[in-house]
């Protein structure tokens, strides 16, 4: 299966400090790339920032226990715990075929501003920093487990991080109102679950660096359960958003079957961000220029 993008490192943080460390890690990578100067006690000058960040990451999760049960035999039964094992892609720089991410002029302008904010050590406030639902596909890219819960008329994706929730209504007539995560409607194409998400309440950051998506973006996921040397959930994402991209583009992810990760750790970022002085003061509001598209 094709892997897309630039692999920089794994998330190593946990619990309540996770939000702050995202920005710190990003700023550190940017500063290494920009300055190429040794940090006190840090890596040597000229070190590859991608490698440095990767080295910060935790070891991969322990292997699936030998006595772990397989997922349900029914290919349309996706119930259970899944985990994004591949290293987090901070910025998706290519599509699944190796072509550069097709930013249009507006997309390039936004990306230049966001990358510069990281290099300057002043990352922008975004949904993640505020502890709001981060939208898709960011939510599914994180190296945290999620549960799929299926009932007669819907499929729920319940995430450990951000206590995120994506509800896929299988009946379009029951589609939920627009939301941070968008409104998702699903159908089966053979044994592939096709999820179409639109109706984003606000613009979305596609990845951690900030590849943009507008409120009017449409995200399609084709999800299927596959047995390789182990069970995975394959997910092909396609983003259509003329506001920021010259064409629809696709990338692929895979999630390992991890029934040993069914029990979640607690994630309660609101206890920090909801406080009057709870926001990281190094984060700044993102400026917008008058000629930018109406996101």
């Amino acid at each position: 299966m094709a892997k897309a993008g630039e692999y920089i490192g794994r998330e190593r943080t946990c619990g309540r400090s996770r939000r702050v460390l995202w920005s710190a890690a990003l700023a550190m990578v940017a500063s290494l790339a920009a300055a190429q100067a040794p940090l006190p006690g840090g890596p040597p000058a000229g070190a590859d920032p991608n490698a440095v960040t990767a080295a910060l990451g935790p070891p991969p999760p322990p292997p699936l226990p030998a006595n772990a049960p397989p997922p349900a035999t029914d290919p349309r039964n996706l119930n259970g715990a899944w985990y994004h094992t591949d290293a987090l892609v901070f910025q998706i720089t290519t599509d699944m075929f190796g072509n550069p991410t097709p930013y249009n002029d507006a997309g390039k302008k936004v990306m230049a501003r966001r990358v510069k904010s990281l290099k300057d050590g002043t990352p922008f406030l975004n949904a993640s920093a505020r502890c709001l639902p981060v939208g898709q596909p960011w939510q599914m890219d994180l190296n945290m487990p999620f549960l799929i819960l299926q009932s007669q008329d819907r499929i729920e994706f319940a995430f450990e991080e951000y206590h995120g929730l994506v509800t896929v209504q299988m009946d379009p007539a029951k589609a939920l109102p627009p939301s941070y995560m968008g409104r998702s409607v699903g159908h089966w194409d053979g044994d592939t679950l096709v999820i179409e998400t639109s109706g984003f309440k606000q613009p979305v950051w596609v990845d951690v660096t900030g590849s943009p998506a507008s409120r009017n973006a449409k995200l399609t996921q084709r999800v299927r359960k596959v047995k390789t040397d182990h069970w995975i959930l394959e997910d092909i994402f396609t983003l259509e958003d003329p506001a920021y991209y010259t064409r629809p583009w696709s990338w692929a992810r895979q999630y390992d079957w991890r029934p040993d990760m069914t029990l979640f750790r607690e994630y309660d970022c609101e206890v920090q961000t909801g406080a009057k002085d709870g926001m990281d003061p190094s984060l700044v509001s993102e400026p917008r220029e008058p000629d930018e598209p109406n996101e």
């Binding site: 946990c14 619990g15 999760p61 322990p62 226990p65 006595n67 772990a68 049960p69 349900a72 029914d74 349309r76 039964n77 119930n79 505020r130 502890c131 709001l132 639902p133 549960l147 819960l149 299926q150 009932s151 007669q152 008329d153 819907r154 729920e156 319940a158 206590h163 995120g164 929730l165 509800t167 209504q169 299988m170 029951k174 939920l176 109102p177 939301s179 941070y180 995560m181 991890r258 029934p259 040993d260 990760m261 069914t262 029990l263 979640f264 750790r265 607690e266 309660d268 609101e270 206890v271 961000t273 909801g274 406080a275 009057k276 709870g278």
Partner: protein, 230 residues
Amino acid sequence: MLSLAVSASATAAAEPANLEGMWKIEAPQMAFRPEGGVVPFTAAGRKRYQDNKRALAEKRLGDFDFATARCASPGLPRLMLTPQRFRIWQREGIILMQFEWNRLLRQIDMGGLVSPQIRVVSGPGPVVSEEALVGRSTPISRGHWEGDTLVVTSEGFADNTLIDNLVPHGYDLKLTEHLRLRGPDVLEDRIRIEDPATFSRAWDTVVTYRRVADEAFAENVCLDSLPVNR
């Protein structure tokens, strides 16, 4: 989707009761009503309670009630007072309560899950699990069936949440819940609350819920209701 229904029925058949479905508290209430009428505070517990009352009167919610002031998780047992809906999912080895409020999830480990991964904090000294290091507002509960009653115990709390809107607790809080169907559409949760630092003895309270239509939750984001985020 047929196979999913089969899966859910199979789970239900293996257990003495099927609690699956959507539930909503019968009588919304801010505080638990203790059987016997009074919460048996210790002196220290009563002082914290009075402090909380004073802070509430002075509108200093941020001093003691992080759920209301910040949208932090209310934790247990306060979550069971939610005036909004929650959905129960029964699956192999686990029962989940999915709360409408702020998308929270409560997990009850019924045993039999494959070797739950122990995530560790490493560094100098002995390796310890995160769970052992830091209490939680909503610990992983442990459950088992006694006839048609689901018995659930919860321990390993942090001390920065409340029993309800005012009653405090400490790290040694222990909850024992007995959940049972009083009828096809009425769920009872009998909760025993123990915390020697806060209460002079165990005390009990009962909350009931009524089954409601099983419809998906619209996205619920508590932070949107805070003035700082409007």
